[in-house]
């Protein structure tokens, strides 16, 4: 029997093997990039969905309660459980799997978008008879492990075992995006449009290379040049131009005459009249220009701003609200 644990937002201690600390969305410093909606859904949401659709006997989703991140995901499956000590909880879950007769557990910390052949990974782990197998891209470790739960001691701290050099290395041949910097989000979008990876935009392809999710409103005087993505409920006004692999995520409003070129507009963002958004990522009132490596917080509401009508349990900063949202 096999199980899967996904652990969102938990940090790993810095080690020389990890050249960069886990990246965050610039506008929500504690929000991991894996939780940011890209082309209709976050990487975390996509992984969770894939795990629930696969043949795992048990799937557990945990999230660090100390992190503010969107809890509204796919509504067809249970929400992740928010915990105070994520790695401690992983150890508890592993013991629980062991007790339930689940000997092999796949543990995923979605710090990267990685296309891993899980069946092959499990086969490799069984063939090698190693207690822990970890996926690697060349020499760089990915946060995907296969753990032999039956060989774990009950009181064992799991984190040192996961980071130990004795882990058997499984080489990943598929597409990997480490999501180490916000520019990786852009790369993921471009790679998706260029079919370099298997990630597909949500919604329907309304024209070759143009995807639109539910409730999109595009003025007849606006131009959407493929490849492009329009997220659910987004509004594109007259004379706007969305072009060069740009993605406008959910509930965004692009006002009259604005050009969005080679850019990502993250969910719930308003972009004002007659602007030029180029080589940038915009979220709420923050603009990150990737060409010039400049992050600007724009206080002028007429230029860019958050378009979000906050529900208390969404994107909340206080931990209590997150816990409240995490309870099932």
């Amino acid at each position: 029997m096999t199980g899967a644990i996904i652990i969102v937002g938990a940090e790993l201690p810095h080690s020389p093997l990890r050249p960069a600390l886990p990246a965050s969305d610039p506008t929500h410093p504690t929000l991991p990039l894996g939780c940011v909606e890209v082309l209709g859904r976050s990487v975390v949401d996509r992984i969770l969905d894939a795990l629930h659709r696969s043949a795992f006997d048990r799937v557990v989703a945990l999230a660090d309660a100390a992190k503010a991140w969107p809890v509204e995901m796919n509504h067809d499956r249970p929400s992740p459980r928010f915990v105070q000590d994520p790695w401690g909880e992983v150890a508890v879950e592993l013991q629980s799997c062991k007790a339930a007769g689940i000997d092999t557990v796949v543990l995923i910390r979605p710090s990267a978008y990685a296309e891993v052949n899980v069946a092959d990974l499990l086969q490799c782990h069984r063939d090698e008879k190693a207690p822990i197998t970890r996926a690697f891209l060349d020499l760089r470790p990915l946060d995907v492990w296969v753990i032999d739960a039956s060989r774990l001691e009950s009181s064992e701290d799991v984190l040192p075992l996961l980071l130990a050099d004795e882990c058997h290395a499984y080489p990943v041949n598929g597409y990997v995006n480490f999501l180490g910097h916000p520019r990786d989000l852009r790369r993921l979008v471009v790679d998706c449009f260029n079919n370099t990876c298997r990630l597909r935009p949500e919604g329907q392809e309304i024209r070759p290379g143009v995807w639109a999710n539910e409730g999109v409103e595009v003025h007849r005087g606006a131009r959407i040049v493929a490849p492009a993505f329009l997220g659910r409920g987004s509004r594109i006004e007259e004379q706007c131009l969305i072009t060069r692999c740009s993605n406008v995520e959910a509930n965004c409003h692009i006002d009259y005459g604005t050009v969005v070129e080679d850019s990502s507009v993250l969910p719930n963002t308003y972009i004002g009249i007659g602007l030029d958004i180029s080589h940038s990522i915009v979220h709420g009132d923050t603009l990150l220009n990737l060409e010039r490596e400049v992050t600007l917080q724009i206080s002028d509401n007429g230029v860019i701003r958050s378009n979000r009508v906050l529900r208390r349990e969404q994107y909340s900063q206080p931990q209590s609200a997150l816990r409240m949202a995490g309870t099932q």
């Binding site: 007659g274 602007l275 030029d276 958004i277 180029s278 603009l287 220009n289 010039r292 490596e293 400049v294 600007l296 917080q297 724009i298 206080s299 002028d300 007429g302 230029v303």
Partner: protein, 135 residues
């Protein structure tokens, strides 16, 4: 016609926003009043400009040009550059990497002061006249 009026270099504040615009405007406006004002704005310290700041810069440029002068930007910080591009006004202003270069650009020799050679087509007419005579 020569203009010996000195070029004025002014430092733009870190944030040129709604609250800073009246203060900065007050300093800048007297410099725009004489004929042919020549102003360089040093934008090296700029970290943010809002739409009020952009409007003020455009107004000042307009005023300067009305009086046959110019307003140029120099040493524009990355932040200011991104904002100017975002608001599509980067092509409106002449920009220079340094204040010295911006100042020097005002002192460039005007086109009318350069002795003009005979136009290229004059030799063609000469040839035509020669051919006419020959025929």
């Amino acid at each position: 016609m020569s203009n010996n009026r000195p070029v004025v270099v002014m430092q733009v504040p870190e944030y040129l926003n709604l609250s800073q615009v009246p203060v900065f405007s007050q300093e800048l406006e007297p410099l725009l009043e004489p004929h042919r004002p020549r102003i360089v704005l040093d934008c090296s310290q700029v970290r943010g400009i809002d739409s009020a700041g952009i409007e003020m810069l455009l107004n000042c440029l307009e005023e300067a040009m009305k009086r046959d002068g110019d307003l140029k930007l120099a040493d524009v910080s990355k932040e200011a550059q991104v904002i100017l591009e975002l608001m599509r006004v980067d092509r409106v202003f002449e920009m220079f990497p340094t204040c010295e270069e911006a100042v020097r650009s005002f002192n460039a020799i005007p086109v009318e002061a350069v002795p003009q050679d005979a136009p290229w087509y004059s030799s063609v007419f000469d040839d035509l006249g020669y051919l006419k005579q020959a025929s």
